[in-house]
């Protein structure tokens, strides 16, 4: 198996990247204004709590030894206590992660299905008026601030037409027996609609443009010419011969988009008061809840790096021409 070696070396490389990012995070939160204790200890904590945290994070020791304590705690999933919630940061993060992932994946799946179909269609209609009109529009959606698009949709569909709720994940006073019941309820889905639409409109540009340019390349290949010569229908040529081959690179870009989307979520979650990691990061930073801000940042970074790795591996495994010599 000569594919195993590149997989291992790439994984190792990205573990090093993760370590570097964790170190940068440590330095960022230690070098901020105020005393070093401020990263973990809120003055309103009880004395016992303070002493316990000082011991746990080695806050009375030199910076270097704090750093190793920090790494050790991280490995055990120990992220400290949130100043505002008075609960372990890790608990809070695991609570919010599903909301962020649901938002990210549902919007990206919609964006990719639409982008792939529209991209293939635009490649087929190359040079047409439809292309001349749609390309600038697609480029403009990439140039929009996501939060602004969210604001416009919110003003129209929520405040003006009243079709969708203005924010949050559920109406006040509703209770569900299980998470599954919540996520499949009409109430949850109607809260999900606008943020998903916002992110989907923003994200469809990448798969669309990628699909289109890949299709244009594939359509120049010999086997497509051959299919045309054989007199196959345009549908068979575009879908069976063109799209299948153009699809691979678009699919690998999905993983990159997940990591990227997670960063864009920060603003969109804030617009729609969606209780996810991004909004938590923003409110934690504004409220100087440093342990929680660190935890949210770390979680986002972990997903970004993991998605980079998945994209790399898919690329290696799916395209035999790429070698990691």
């Amino acid at each position: 198996m000569n594919t195993l070696k590149p997989v291992l070396s790439r994984t190792l490389q990205l573990l090093l990247v993760l370590w570097a990012v964790v170190t940068i995070l440590f330095l960022m939160f230690r070098l901020m204004p105020g005393n070093p204790l401020a990263a973990y200890i809120d003055p309103t904590f009880t004395l016992e709590q303070q002493e316990q945290l000082i011991r746990q994070f080695g806050l009375d020791k030199p910076l270097l030894s704090q750093y190793f304590t920090y790494l050790g705690n991280l490995l055990q999933g120990e992220l400290g206590y949130s100043f505002r919630y008075r609960t372990p940061v890790a608990e809070r993060i695991w609570l919010l992660l599903p909301n962020t992932l649901i938002l990210t994946f549902s919007s990206l799946i919609i964006a990719y299905v639409f982008g792939i179909l529209a991209g293939a269609w635009l490649a087929w209609r190359r040079g047409s008026r439809a292309e001349a009109v749609s390309l600038p529009i697609v480029l403009a959606t990439r140039a929009m601030p996501e939060f602004w698009l969210g604001m416009v949709l919110l003003a129209i569909f929520s405040f003006s037409l009243g079709i969708f709720p203005a924010g949050g994940t559920r109406s006040a006073g509703t209770e569900y027996t299980s998470l599954w019941a919540l996520y499949t309820s009409a109430d949850f889905l109607s809260h999900l609609a606008l943020p998903v639409l916002t992110l989907a409109i923003y994200s469809q540009g990448l798969p669309l443009l990628l699909m289109r340019s890949n299709m244009l390349d594939v359509m120049k290949e010999d086997f497509v010419t051959m299919a045309k010569v054989k007199g196959l229908s345009p549908y068979t040529i575009v879908i069976k011969h063109g799209a299948r081959n153009a699809l691979l690179p678009v699919m690998t870009s999905f993983a990159i988009s997940v990591g990227y989307q997670l960063q864009g979520n920060v603003v969109v979650e804030s617009v729609f008061s969606w209780p996810g990691l991004g909004r938590e990061l923003v409110s934690a930073v504004s409220a100087s809840d440093y342990p929680l801000a660190q935890g949210a940042f770390l979680m986002i970074a972990v997903v970004v790096i993991a998605m980079n790795l998945i994209a790399d591996l898919l690329y290696t495994l799916l395209d035999p021409r790429i070698s990691h010599a």
Partner: protein, 297 residues
């Protein structure tokens, strides 16, 4: 690109040496938007009817707040604090221009230098620099800029520096691969064999060939920087002393402009951002066609 410049005529001869992508419709539209935008930014104090931060009062000394477009001579109406929206849009061009240009400059300079060193020297220099780029790719961009902007004093410069610290990665990778192909070209080999120093090979033979590519990535970075600054201001971590389009949107959002249907307040800043950012995209597309004509469109 001799064929392209021959057909471009006078405009081509003037702008040819700059590698401006005249001749491509998209790119020309982009350049026009940039020109209007730069003009607005420079002459904002002359063009704007009011001071963008001044709280205005009507003739009867009532606060001139929440006026609709056209009321009492305010082209786009006023904000809830009685500030003129149109003047804010014009002044917003200033901070957008400032953020866009400085960030793009830093990103392309840092990215180009790192890419050059990495591609040209190879070996451990390459390994170290490209691992650094890997790390930059592992940092969540917007969260990083948020944390840095919040911890340091909120100012345009801190936002720009935070962006540059991460965004150089894309430019560096592209420049590096371009340098790798250039390095194996005949004339570079010839220069090396004839005893030219590394420095003179880089300056004379390699740098001129990667400048258009740096400019391309610079023009993309302008858009990124403006969008990022808007997000940062919207989230409330922006420079409190400057009127930017992101600040206007935050002001509108926080003042319940959405539920009051004050479209005249929050639509214009968004349109302004879209125009300027897509202008960068249009220009970079034009460049791509010039640089890589065989890619086609």
């Amino acid at each position: 690109m001799p064929e392209a410049s021959a057909s471009r005529g006078l405009v081509g001869r003037i702008f040819g040496p700059l590698h401006l992508p005249v001749g491509d419709n998209f790119a020309v539209a982009g350049l026009i938007i940039y020109a209007v935008f730069a003009f607005t930014a420079i002459f904002a104090p002359v063009l704007a009817p009011y001071d963008p931060t001044e709280i205005l009062y009507s003739a009867e000394y009532n606060l001139a707040s929440d006026l609709m477009p056209g009321e009492e001579g305010h082209v786009l109406g006023t904000t809830s604090l009685g500030r003129d929206i149109f003047s804010q849009i014009l002044f917003g061009a200033r901070s957008a221009l400032l953020v866009g240009l400085t960030a793009a400059f830093m990103v392309s300079v840092i990215g180009t230098i790192i890419g050059l060193l990495s591609g040209y020297f190879g070996g451990w220099v390459d390994t170290v620099l490209m691992r650094l780029a890997d790390v930059a790719f592992g940092i969540p961009f917007l969260p990083f800029v948020i944390v840095i902007s919040a911890f340091l004093q909120p100012s345009i410069w801190n936002t720009v520096i935070a962006m540059a610290l991460v965004l150089w990665r894309d430019t560096a990778r592209v420049i590096r691969s371009q340098v790798l192909t250039l390095r194996s070209r005949g004339y570079v080999e010839a220069a090396r064999v004839s005893g030219s120093s590394d420095m003179s090979i880089i300056v004379r033979h390699i740098a001129p060939n990667i400048v258009p590519l740096s400019l391309l990535y610079g023009s993309i970075a302008i858009g990124w920087a403006i969008l990022t600054e808007a997000s940062i201001s919207f989230l409330g971590f922006g420079d409190p002393d400057s009127i930017s389009w992101g600040f206007m949107l935050q002001d509108a959002f926080a003042s319940q402009a959405l539920s009051r249907q004050a479209y005249h307040w929050f639509i214009p800043p968004g349109i302004a951002i879209i125009l300027v950012v897509s202008a960068g995209f249009f220009i970079s597309r034009g460049y791509e066609n010039l640089l890589f004509p065989k890619l086609g469109r």
